[in-house]
């Protein structure tokens, strides 16, 4: 009962704040609304008993990535006058395309027959011990490859920020 109310509250918050991210004029406000959206999504993870995932979602997204976003916005001092003006035709075309994609998705969802939902009898699912076992057992290769991804992304980022000393 209370989880149902919580679910609707979190969903409403997430969608509303996501819309505000797109529609608000001040870029710092957009970033702050995005942070609230991330918190709402983390709340959804907690409702699904994915505790580690929810906590790490907050730490990584709301705590590190958005800090860097806001850092860049502050440094570049972006505001409405600097933004390039797009013609109305492009905005209308983009809305139409996005709307059609959403329409097709909703239509496909309505037509689909869902399979049976089997209840998991494993009560420990989502807990961090089980996650650790799976991460270092069956999913070892993706885990190690993601470390190579981070390493090369770091090398690329450090390289891109090198200044030319003419």
């Amino acid at each position: 009962m209370i989880t149902q109310y919580l679910f609707y509250f979190l969903t409403f918050t997430a969608i509303f704040c996501a819309l505000l991210v797109v529609f608000s004029k001040n870029p710092i406000y957009s970033a702050l609304y995005l942070i609230v959206t991330f918190f709402a999504t983390a709340g959804h993870y907690f409702l699904l008993n994915a505790q580690f995932l929810g906590a790490v979602h907050v730490i990584v997204y709301a705590g590190a990535i958005m800090v860097l976003f806001i850092y860049v916005i502050m440094m570049l001092n972006l505001n409405k006058e600097v933004e390039p003006h797009k013609s109305n035709i492009i905005k209308i075309a983009a809305t139409v395309c996005g709307g059609i994609l959403g329409l097709v998705l909703i239509a496909a969802l309505r037509e689909t027959e869902l399979g049976e939902i089997t209840e998991y009898s494993n009560n420990g699912i989502g807990l961090i011990e089980k996650l650790g076992n799976v991460l270092f057992g069956a999913y070892m290769v993706p885990f190690e490859i993601s470390t190579v991804l981070f390493l090369s992304a770091m090398v690329g980022a450090v390289f891109l920020s090198k200044k030319n000393i003419h």
């Binding site: 942070i35 505790q51 906590a55 730490i59 705590g63 590190a64 800090v67 850092y71 961090i128």
Partner: protein, 345 residues
Amino acid sequence: MLSTEIIYKIILILAVFTVTLVVALYSTFAERKVAAVLQDRYGPNRAGPLGMFQPFADGVKMFTKEEFIPGNADKQLFILGPSIAMLTCLMTGAVIPWGGDLTIGDYIFKLQVTDINIGILYLLGVVSVGVYGIMIGGWASNNKYSLLGALRASSQMISYEIAMGLALIALVMMTGSLSLGEIVRQQDEGLANIVYQPLGFLIFLVCAFAETNRAPFDLPETESELVGGYHTEFSSMKLGFYLFSEYINMFISSALIATLYFGGYNFPFQHSLGIEGNALSIVQTVVFFGKIFFFIFFYMWVRWTIPRFRYDQLMKLGWKTLIPLAILNLFITGIVIGFKNGFFN
């Protein structure tokens, strides 16, 4: 309709809140007294016997000053900044085990608001979100010095979060659990974690200093360089919130260091003293607060002893020294645990 558990939790939350605020209040006073001792002078001694009512005088001063929001400042963000700072620093008190269990009648009351099994992740999350209080405050002031202070503060805090997390990972590897209550219980059975993780303790200590923006890492609010840093434009209660949140952060960090590395509310030979049950729990809580006060004193001692870092030295320390050390610590801990569990036979 409310069960005993909920009423008890509400009372416990209010108690933790009040104790936090009172301790932070008197920390402001203790800071000035410790500074006075270290600088061979008297310190505040007018507002009551030995100056004991000085914090209340400061509080009244803060309340009665004029609330001034600068003209071009963003009003909502201006109020939001100190609020976030205060919110996040108070939230951490929810997962710290303040003492053993109290048994009254049939009920066992734990002196820890919630013992979630991802306690350390919760701490890291709250610390990460705490950066926003400073950043938003600095941006909303519409002032170059505030902005510089905010940028310095945020880059410093996110740099030292990494080393802190890595030091904590080694601790978690040893303990096998992320919940703070479990970590304290294990230190009851063995030795305090500082014996097993000396390097981790050093790294965590340095990072705790950086995260709370205390000297020698107080570049964001240096008076000599940045007028007031990120809290230049704030006055009256908003400034009070910022300054107060720094002391609450200090209190909470000391509590964390005591919990994670020094045994929390346990003390040596606690089971062979002859006291049991509730009396033991109360003694444990008193000992815990003793440890906290020692670390608060340590914070103040370091502040008035060591000069502050330059910005590039600070970044170099965070990225080029602490992170490799923390990884080395992780590596050594891993090898030792491997040997203990017989992986290398």
